[in-house]
Symmetry: C2
Subunit: 357 residues, 2 copies
């Protein structure tokens, strides 16, 4: 492992833009921290990563990313504790996953020392952008795009690995209603659903618009073959609580292996809650809703942490979820955030301290 200065070129902003940001009224994804990381892949190798002022870049209209969606991304967060220490949550998982995504999209894998040196340097430079306080965080977006010019449908020989950051408050503020998919689908067996490939997300916008028009904020995707099995939401994995047991679908090549999902499985089991990782059918969900054994549905993801779902529609019928005391969703959200914000023990070793000096 090299030292940071060996492996990064750094050019700092002359003046921070942080004073222009109203942290009390943040629109997510509209303000970017002062610096970004850019690393070019060319001549068969990742070049020296650069930290630069965040800002526009030049691309030719023929850059492959515009035509063939050869692009992947990650989403992670940095949290500030009461002593102004900055923490990441399981960053190795995101590092591993972006390379899993890259491989499926024929993008060269990124070196681990570059990734961590860039992350730590960015967070040190933009430390003020990590706002303290519950629900506040700095959202970190690593991504890779095919930057070679050329309109022939073949893998790019040039890429840019970048990291940009933007301050975030809690993602979903209110409970969401969801629609269970019975026509559209998100991914195929043998496809790229398990990867955070750019095109997976754009492909969901239209069906999600249709759901929005019906009053649903999100879609629960089912398997594309039969629409019988519950899979995940657009950017969240799903948990179903039937009586006191939690059920979540196993990951597959159609489902993203979410970091929050696996953390909630561990946290729930650690707290003595039974978790079943198994296929669950729409039919089982509907009958549990009808007989009253369905107590909760919640989504898990870095952006939302835990999103509480208040009801779902399937086959033109809406099923309301009961209002319950001390729901798992709140308990596990607090449990997770207590670890993320360094307010509790971390028996799992999930926290990762960012050295600020």
């Amino acid at each position: 492992m090299h030292s940071t200065s060996d492996i990064l070129d750094i050019r700092q902003v002359e003046k921070s833009k942080i004073d222009q940001v109203d942290f009390d009224n943040l629109a997510f994804g509209k303000n970017y921290a002062d610096h970004m990381m850019v690393c070019d892949y060319k001549d068969g190798a990742w070049q020296k990563p650069k930290i630069l002022p965040y800002g526009p870049m030049e691309f030719e209209p023929s850059a492959k990313v515009f035509h063939y969606g050869q692009a992947v991304f990650e989403g992670m967060k940095a949290f500030k504790d009461e002593n102004n220490k900055v923490w990441l949550f399981r960053p190795e998982e995101n590092f591993n996953r972006i390379n899993i995504s890259s491989k499926r999209m024929a993008i060269p894998e990124f070196p681990k020392d570059y990734f961590f040196a860039a992350l730590e340097t960015l967070l040190k430079l933009d430390e003020k952008w990590v706002h303290p306080g519950d629900g506040n965080s700095l959202y970190i977006r690593p991504f890779v795009i095919a930057s070679e010019n050329g309109v022939s449908a073949s893998p790019s020989n040039e890429y840019k690995f970048m990291i940009i950051c933007c301050p975030a408050k809690a993602y979903y503020n209110s409970p969401v209603k969801v629609l269970v998919a019975d026509h559209y689908s998100r991914s195929a067996d043998g496809g790229v659903g398990f990867a955070k490939a750019a095109g997976n997300y754009g492909a969901q916008f239209y069906p999600t618009n249709l759901a929005n028009e019906k009053g649903y904020q999100q879609i629960i995707w089912t398997d594309s073959n039969s629409h019988k099995y519950l899979e995940e939401a657009g950017t969240m994995n799903l948990f179903f609580r039937i009586n006191d047991k939690l059920i979540t679908a196993p990951t597959s090549d159609r489902i993203l292996d979410g970091v929050t999902r696996k953390s909630i499985i561990d946290l729930a089991r650690h707290q003595g809650v039974e978790v079943e990782v198994r296929k669950i059918t729409v039919e089982e969900l509907v009958s549990a809703a009808v007989d009253g054994s369905l107590k909760e549905i919640f989504g898990t993801g870095t952006a939302a942490t835990i999103a509480f779902i208040e009801g779902f529609e399937y086959a033109d019928k809406y099923h309301d979820l009961p209002q319950i005391e001390n729901p798992y969703s709140l308990r596990f959200k607090k449990g997770l955030q207590d670890i993320q914000y360094n307010r509790a023990e971390d028996p799992f070793g999930w926290r990762y301290e960012v050295k600020l000096d």
Copy 2:
């Protein structure tokens, strides 16, 4: 319908780059014609289209196309005849299809008068880039990308519709060997396979790399549910000739409705060849190969026109196709090109003359 000057802003190059291009040794997609069209969508409307010198453009790293693959494209060609007239082939089909693709990707549809005014103006300005001679053409790439800045996974409020052009020779020069997919897949029922959505193409690169390593240039995709039905290749629809009958799969929400495919169906029928548009199984293909009734397989697409396939592998077994006299593939390729290059009658009304004065 407005007149061209009403609806376009035009800024011409000072000096053409055409002298730098070696038309005898073209690498496809490496040289771009002097001009491009750019039209911005913002505030809920497509703004006035601009014709500009082809060149790099600025994008913020948070532009949605980089993160969510909200992007679609088209591919079409302009041909020059012996009298230096320039022709398009069924351009209305491409116009309609890009809007079908856009709709599925939650992108606003593009106005028809803008599309045709831009196309005609570009071709008039860059008329010299349409090189005469059999197999030569100017490849035209209309595309739309989500240009709004923002890392939240939701449809963009801003887009760029662009057209860039590059000179092309025949795409595949030699016969191709193909691998029939039995694990990876291209698209799902209820997905975006019928759209020319950017992400569909990037997702094929990795399985295609694996096929290349085994000595196959292309994959024949099968349905993702069962891998039993033959669908299409990466950028071509497929025709199977069993004895004297042609078979091609029906289009669906997984298969692109190719302009070349439907033209070949019409052309073949016009020439008295029986064409069946129906599902065809891998099993049927293999047994026809084994009993000798499989005479030809060929792919159809704008880039390749017709690509002759010399053999396929399925389940670890390679099947060679026979060498036959006067194959359909050559006959229909010639038939199509005769119409495209204005060397023959056009009973179908497919040619579209570009006014050059």
